[in-house]
Symmetry: C2
Subunit: 720 residues, 2 copies
């Protein structure tokens, strides 16, 4: 019990430090404290966004007045839901936990028909509750107070972990004396220990039928960057509900890497010897303010775009009802009903005992939105950004606020929207250049060590560019080696020796986007593969022997649209409205332009790949089905892959002339290198959703060029 | 002769208009006028760059004082070269033409050993002259006035076209009455005609042994965007030297597309009905000025980077002696000796009579740099950009200035250099975010219709990102169709009907970069393929069945480094210094991170692909050889592919532990769409050259975050 005491001592010391710094410290929180938003964290204080078009609405933008059918649940609505659920005896019991409380979106048709000024459709909450080990999916009508639907999960897996689950896993092992002994035997002070729930998956071996989780620990001694100081080889299998340690896997003792050079905080390293030639201030400036407006905190209007934007505990950011005002007709045209990061898959490439289970699905297991922390103004997003808060729900149903969770800003990067200068041959007096300005919606999720920066970038020419940036800290492995010259030729390290005793283990990242495209409405959409095929000319036809021919194939069923990208068999991938043609008779459409094309190569029968079978192809198209939102299935934690996008798609349903959903997976292979230590420079990949014969012509023909009179007059702040 | 008169009439009218507008009009220039810089063009006026670190040097930055062994020839030096060449009887004759006059760079070793303050190595010019049909490659010692080397070309092909060649081809057809008759028969007024040299290639059919070129024409009537009004099916084969029409290929008459909606000039379309919601001013501001310096107009220093930058008539931009100041040691470390766009290949995918020959190699045929027109401040490049002029040479050896040909600017796009926030699980008070600022070097080449925007972006973490943007105007084909419903199911259009009577023909773009990597110096560099292979676990080894294993293969010879990218057989591609290891024993290196991965699929025996065989692989590695600079060979115009990168590489020379050059090809497949009409929104692709164990750790650990006090105080210019 000495360890336990030390842990509490450490907690108290940390708490004092954090209190002094006025910073959040949930490490030692009880659930009750956690749910008291103001106690929990200064992030929770109802800080106002510093930009709002309509300041009269800004005083409490997550107030009790939803304005749009897709607006997330307000604090008041969540409180009502809590009451309603608590009114049911079966959920009033101790140990009943709400894993998810979010808006149950009205049927698509209802949302599409709704117009501003109309009465809102009935507000409902989708609730995932667990009581006595049984998972219930409820539909709660907030106005009537009735539970209108109630199902128990029929698939493998458990709902998303609650923050309370995750936090409890960080302290539960301390109650086990074997665990404490093992730590002390390794020479680590229990007071320095930081434990994390490192894997939630199912691995094919045993079916647990209980909520088990693997916990591994690090030492915080002499560094805040404990990720670089793993207690390698020690894994605790924990029962999350009983908080009992089921099994301790205690491998051979590996030296714990030193703390030196691991801290990355500016306050600690500014006296560092690193010779960096610093830059003078640079800023994106908008002297007349930004050009976007956000109505009622969720409806974003910029250039010819309009869309609904909301935070979500699982997806992070949900973009809905994306429409573009046609420059020719002035009419709002539908482009996408809903776009979001449906799931992630992050398999590490080390099959050894303490590593094989590190195959994360961060949205369905940990909550991509729940892990999105407040953005840092001026660093995470430039000046003039608008910040949107998230309202999330604790395990007991109490709402809390994650402030500054999403930012929206305009971006000018010195890029060119379009240009043409006549060449020296013609010498015509032409030089027409238009600068490119875009709108970015950003979130940054800190899924333990890794930081995912998710951007949705909108161009005024109708293009949408989802982008994922990876930064943060590597998940590393302790190693006996301090130099590669000690490693036997035949020994494989599963990664790169980054620093003394630290291996950066090879891993992949996959981010699967759900893109419910509605090209000029939900009906009559089709997926077309425009394949570029090498065609040989016939003898005497031409001095040319070959050319590329575009061959269009409309996908009839889902299997026609299971796409593995091939560089030597290239295609364009269009979603068209088969009922609508342009003036000269082309089907109107959008195409997905792949980028970040790394493909998962794991064996399809490997348990992690079965669970993440949605990464078996880079593109999939499914018929719209409101229950098919989450690529890894509704319940992901310990799922066995029986409810994934791959399973749905293999039903091979008809997708021609239908309301269809396109799924695209961005992929990264990551072989770590020393530059990733102790914190990684951002690596980004993006893909594009791009108009293709959607407009009659270039939709930004008459944007004006910049002229000196448009630009601001600035002086240095220091000289002010 | 009536047509000829009309052409002159048109020229006079245009000249009057251009004179009135104070804009350049080389259309009607004689060679003499062309070479009189101030008459030629207001671009030539010796405008001073508005930023120079050392203003005392700014009065004439292309003056007679080279400061670095790699500085381009100055105006004075070119004048000396002209005199020297003219002193040789054989080149004094009428009709002798200088196709290229550039610095002959000193031997690499000499440049590497040169230090600031040292005497410059002897200044030499590399001259390509043609006299009496024979091409001579000369080395001219500017100080001694001697020609030190003189060779006649031993490969197929002719040197780069001169601007005078190109301009003469625009008017020569008018001297042919058959041509004029054909134009008039098509109902086109000769006064409205705009002809262009549209293809310079060899097509396997006949070996001409003379400088022939294909010329096609457009009508300028009612639009400046004549590219959208092709006289389809009429092709003139011209002898460039005699200016004689050899052959007129006159296909069936195709309706000329209408002028409506083709103009894109802001002055003409602002009354257009396009409904675009305009944006408020936005700008990148640097109240204390930029952080880069440019010494003596060519040596760029920014963050920890230093490199030499110069314009080149063929490559456009050449970046040399790229070094990074190591943040740990403070020492300058070599990264790349030389990087530039070595060649382009743009094959159109239409084998028909008037199109099969459109397979451009813009650097070697037309001069990528010669076609780079003055950049438009505030639109092509943001405020605070530095502009560099090019000094080029006319056919008779007279120097002229292409002003504002390259810009250099700092870019802040709201991106994140690195970040980490602790997650709700640990709740540690960590949120460290660093904004990303980069340096961009930009050129925009207007190769007739197309505009190529070439960026070299440098990050302060050691990454280099070459990027190519495509904008400008499509090369289109006239068509009898005004709607797709008129097209027979079995008919293939070779492209997309963009507007009435206009087909955007499918084509590819390849841009091949020469990257002479010198990782910590020129010696002992090796190319390593780090292949990620799927590895199955053995039975009972692990609950995991598979993982990806990194397998390193050092390329011994060139054929080991002929790389076709494969998504399902992924690799990293490193250039390492085999003699240098990091502290923990990893070889120091850089990797090329592919992007823009479209691959050429034309048949290898197709004449255009033979000439452009450098696109047969995406990556090649050759041993350094100063004569192997141009991927399509020294002479490209009508080349037959006997001097390409593919030929060199097939010698299969040793490349391990050597001075090696890496070649990377960015590729684009372009199926035009209506949004590309009448001018294309920019499409970009990039790849990365990225440190991999080059630094001991993250090299930008101690850059500071932004704080409000750093940012400028701005007000709207209008309110000033």
């Amino acid at each position: 019990m000495e360890g336990r005491n030390l842990f509490f001592l450490m907690s108290i010391i940390l708490l004092l430090i954090f209190t002094f710094l006025n910073l959040p410290s949930p490490l030692s929180h009880t659930t009750d404290q956690l749910l008291d938003c103001t106690t929990y964290s200064p992030w929770c204080s109802s800080r106002k966004p510093f930009f709002l078009r309509q300041p009269e609405n800004s005083k409490n933008h997550y107030a009790d007045f939803p304005n749009h059918p897709l607006d997330p649940l307000t604090i008041g609505e969540i409180q009502k839901v809590k009451k309603i659920v608590n009114s049911i005896a079966e959920f009033r019991i101790k140990g009943c936990v709400l894993h998810s409380v979010v808006l149950e979106e009205p049927e698509k048709e209802v949302v599409l028909n709704w117009r501003r000024g109309h009465r809102l459709p009935p507000r409902k909450a989708a609730v995932v509750a667990r009581a006595l080990g049984v998972v219930h999916v409820l539909s709660v009508d907030i106005e009537t107070g009735r539970v209108t639907r109630r199902e128990t999960g029929s698939y493998s897996g458990y709902p998303i972990l609650t923050i309370e689950d995750m936090i409890s896993a960080t302290s539960a092992p301390f109650a086990n004396s074997d665990f404490n002994r093992s730590i002390i035997q390794r020479g680590v002070d229990l007071a320095d220990l930081a434990c994390l729930p490192v894997a939630a998956g199912w691995y094919g071996k045993i079916e647990e039928k209980r909520r088990v989780i693997k916990v591994q620990c690090f030492t915080l001694k002499d560094t805040i960057n404990f990720y670089m100081r793993p207690i390698e080889g020690l894994t605790v299998l924990l029962d999350l509900d009983t908080q009992q340690v089921i099994e301790i896997s205690d491998g051979e003792s590996i030296p714990i890497p030193k703390a030196a050079n691991t801290d990355y905080r500016y306050s600690r390293i500014k006296k560092n010897k690193q010779k960096i030639n610093l830059l003078k201030p640079i800023s994106i400036e908008q002297p007349n303010g930004p050009s976007f407006t956000i109505e009622n905190n969720h409806l974003v209007k910029w250039a010819n775009w309009e869309f609904h934007l909301k935070p979500d505990p699982r997806a992070g950011v949900i973009i809905s009802r994306v429409m573009f005002e046609d420059p020719d007709t002035g009419k709002m045209r539908n482009v996408m009903y809903k776009g979001f990061t449906s799931e992630l898959f992050v398999p590490y490439m080390d099959p050894s005992d303490a590593w094989y289970f590190k195959t994360y699905m961060d949205a369905g297991e940990y909550g991509f939105g729940l892990q999105a922390m407040p953005l840092d103004p001026l660093n995470d997003c430039p000046r003039n950004a608008y910040y949107m808060d998230g309202v999330f729900v604790a395990a007991d149903g109490t709402p809390y606020v994650r402030s500054n969770m999403i930012c929206v800003f305009e971006r000018y990067a010195g890029d060119i929207g379009w240009r043409h200068a006549e060449c020296p041959i013609t010498g015509l007096p032409i030089r027409e250049v238009r600068p490119k300005v875009t709108l970015v919606v950003r979130m940054a999720a800190s899924v333990a060590n890794y930081d995912y920066i998710v951007d949705w970038e909108f161009q005024n020419d109708g293009l949408i560019r989802p982008k994922v940036g990876l930064s943060g800290i590597l998940m590393v492995k302790g190693s006996p080696y301090v130099n590669m010259n000690e490693v036997n030729q035949n020994e494989y390290l599963y990664g790169t020796l980054l620093s003394e005793n630290i291996i950066g283990v090879i891993h992949d990242h996959y981010v699967t986007f759900h893109l419910d495209m509605d090209i000029d409405g939900p009906s009559n959409n089709s997926f077309v593969k425009v394949n570029l095929q090498k065609e040989m000319t016939s003898s005497g036809e031409s001095p040319r022997r070959s050319y590329l021919k575009a061959v269009r194939n409309v996908a009839k069923t889902e299997k026609d649209a299971q796409i593995k990208l091939k560089l030597y068999d290239p295609s364009e991938f269009h979603v068209i409205n088969s009922n609508k043609k342009s003036r000269v008779g082309n089907p109107v459409g959008y195409k997905v332009v792949p980028g970040g094309t790394a493909a998962s190569l794991l064996d399809h029968n490997d348990p992690p790949q079965k669970r993440a079978a949605f990464t078996n192809n880079q593109i999939w198209v499914t018929p719209y089905n409101e229950s098919e939102q989450w690529a890894a299935g509704l319940f992901v934690y310990q799922s066995q892959g029986d409810d994934t996008l791959a399973v749905w798609s293999d039903r091979d349903r008809a997708i021609e002339n239908k309301d269809i959903v396109l799924w695209y997976t961005l992929g990264f292979h990551h072989i770590p290198c020393q530059e990733d230590f102790p914190i990684m420079p951002t690596v980004s990949s993006s893909f594009e959703i791009k108009p293709v014969n959607f407009f009659e012509s270039n939709p930004i023909l008459n944007i004006p060029p910049n002229s000196p009179k448009d630009l601001p007059i600035c002086k240095a702040a220091a000289s002010a």
